[in-house]
């Protein structure tokens, strides 16, 4: 390995450690990178809303951005169609690990029903909750969950977890319509 090659990860890590850009690519990602956001029907008026969380690689001079721990670094762009303004409060988007042990606030949905933020997990869940108000200091949702979505990589798991009554696809239970 040459010295330059050995130095390359350091350079990449340094470059990607900068704050997330505020403007994300507007072109739609491939289907595999589109997370369907499913209503929980907990909030009146959300029954016919349809949402998507598009996942794109964060821009980097070398094509791929990675986090300091080696994970890919993504941008998540959340958008909704037919999303009614709630009678009270506001919708806030969050990203969380599959075990819910880490939560990253994305922020409130704007007037167009959109929000964006970075994520550095392989498997994660998108949560949109209805909050009384939004504070940048919030660490976890406190209101009811209105929409949820699972990253496509969440569908991949070992067959160890397959048992009785599991002849259908696991993800069909309560996530996909």
């Amino acid at each position: 390995m040459t010295f330059a090659a050995a130095l390359l990860p350091v350079v990449v890590l340094t470059l990607t450690a900068t704050p997330a850009p505020t403007a994300f690519p507007t072109c739609a990602p491939p289907e595999y990178y589109a997370i369907e956001l499913v209503t929980t029907r907990n909030i009146p008026g959300t029954g016919y809303s349809r949402g998507t969380a598009d996942v794109t690689f964060r821009p980097a001079p070398f094509g791929i951005s990675i986090a300091p721990d080696g994970s890919y670094s993504y941008n998540v762009r959340i958008r909704f169609d037919n999303l009614r303004t709630p009678r009270t409060g506001q919708y806030v988007a969050w990203l969380t690990t599959t075990e819910l042990d880490e939560v990253v606030p994305v922020g409130p949905l704007d007037d167009e029903g959109a929000a964006s933020g970075p994520v550095e997990w392989n498997k994660f869940i998108v949560v949109v909750s209805l909050e009384d108000s939004w504070s940048p200091d919030a660490t976890r949702w406190s209101g009811p969950i209105a929409f949820r979505g699972m990253s496509r990589s969440g569908n991949m798991h070992t067959m160890i977890g397959h048992g009785p009554l599991q002849d259908e696809q696991c993800a069909a239970y309560g996530y996909d319509d």
């Binding site: 599959t98 969950i145 070992t158 977890g161 048992g163 309560g174 319509d177």
Partner: protein, 448 residues
Amino acid sequence: MMTTILAPRASTAALAGLFLLPATVAAQDVPWTPADPGSDNIEVLGHLPLGPRLSVADMDVEQEMDRPYAYVARMVYGFDGPKGTDIISIADPENPELLYEWRIEDQDLHQRTGGMDVKHFKWDGRYYLVQSLQFGQGGPDTDLGAVILDVTGLPDPSTVEEVARIREPDMPGGFHNIFIYKHSNGRVYLFTTANAPGALVYDLGMIVDGNMDDAYMGMVPIPGEGSRGYHDFYVGYHPDTDEDRFYGGGTGGYYIYDVSDVAEAELRVTLTNVSGVSYGHTFTPSPDGRYVIAETEYQYAPLRIFDLQPALEGEVTNIRSPISAFTADWRNLVHNHEVRWPYVFVSGYLDGLQIFNLQDPENPLTVGYYDTYIGPPNTERSAMFNGAFGVDVRNEDGLIVISDMSTGLWTFRMDGFQGWNGEQWGYPNISSAQDWDAPARRPISEDR
């Protein structure tokens, strides 16, 4: 007009013939209809709808009359519903009342079905329920098998308290069926399915006393390599051998173990190479352990009745031929069952509550029915898995309770069935109902 019922006398030969007859049999119908869902001897006492279709799983009823509570597991087998347990008062069986709902936190983010089976037990003067849980990968708590709630203070819902969770990180996917048994040694054990080549056994007394680390007692194995394990089971005392016996259905068929020492289960009888059985499901013996009722989980499968006598007498170790069979509507599938000999109470999925008499084990006789599910087979899920899921019987007064996947909780009485005590029928008073206050039949060392 009442049409001919197909199933009342379904001997093995008749059943075999049934499968061979094509269109003529297919044209036959069953006597229950949407307008006339029950037999004349079945009285509907109460009905409590519980929410979305395909959101109700198994259930359990406390046996003591001064504790009139039914526990109902809640799952998402369809598209909506809660994940947890409903606690329902049946103090007035004609007006079941929802007292308390336990739900997994962040249930909207938990994958797969959620609650599946639920059972109760009594330990050291307090009452508890165990709710089995199944959560899939891609969401939280894939290692969570069961939650234990202290329900001693019912009917006051504010007294219900979660006291423990059983986790198995090496066996993700949770627990499916569970059975709780008051062992001859006086301990109370939880037998549970898991993604394991056997049934896991936990000492529930230890768990609620705070000793989770030592509560795992061992595993009742299932013969054969690469096994998917068990699906369901029953554990009961076997007077003729003075053994505690485990009856499990799973990979390859059905197995009976001596679990007098739960850490050293010994195989006694197998039921394998049974025609049409590759994976056993619910498996329940008669009170004396001679006959067994065996279910398989596929369309057209009847309940098979086997006579274990040749194996009990040591002539053979494997039984493979049933002596008779029962089904409600041959086009469907019957599910769980509770034996109160000679009656067998069945939660018959699309055909609701079914009751048959096994006084002549070679000739099962339908004695009552009530279709709790008036609807079509599923189109988005496995076609047969809808309707009556769980059944239980209160021995003291003969109350019959059904949990229906889509229509909720039902309470019934059957004419002439005002309670059950096996001795009144010439059998040991043994059923799934446990006598929590009975003294230990045999001593136990201090460390177990």
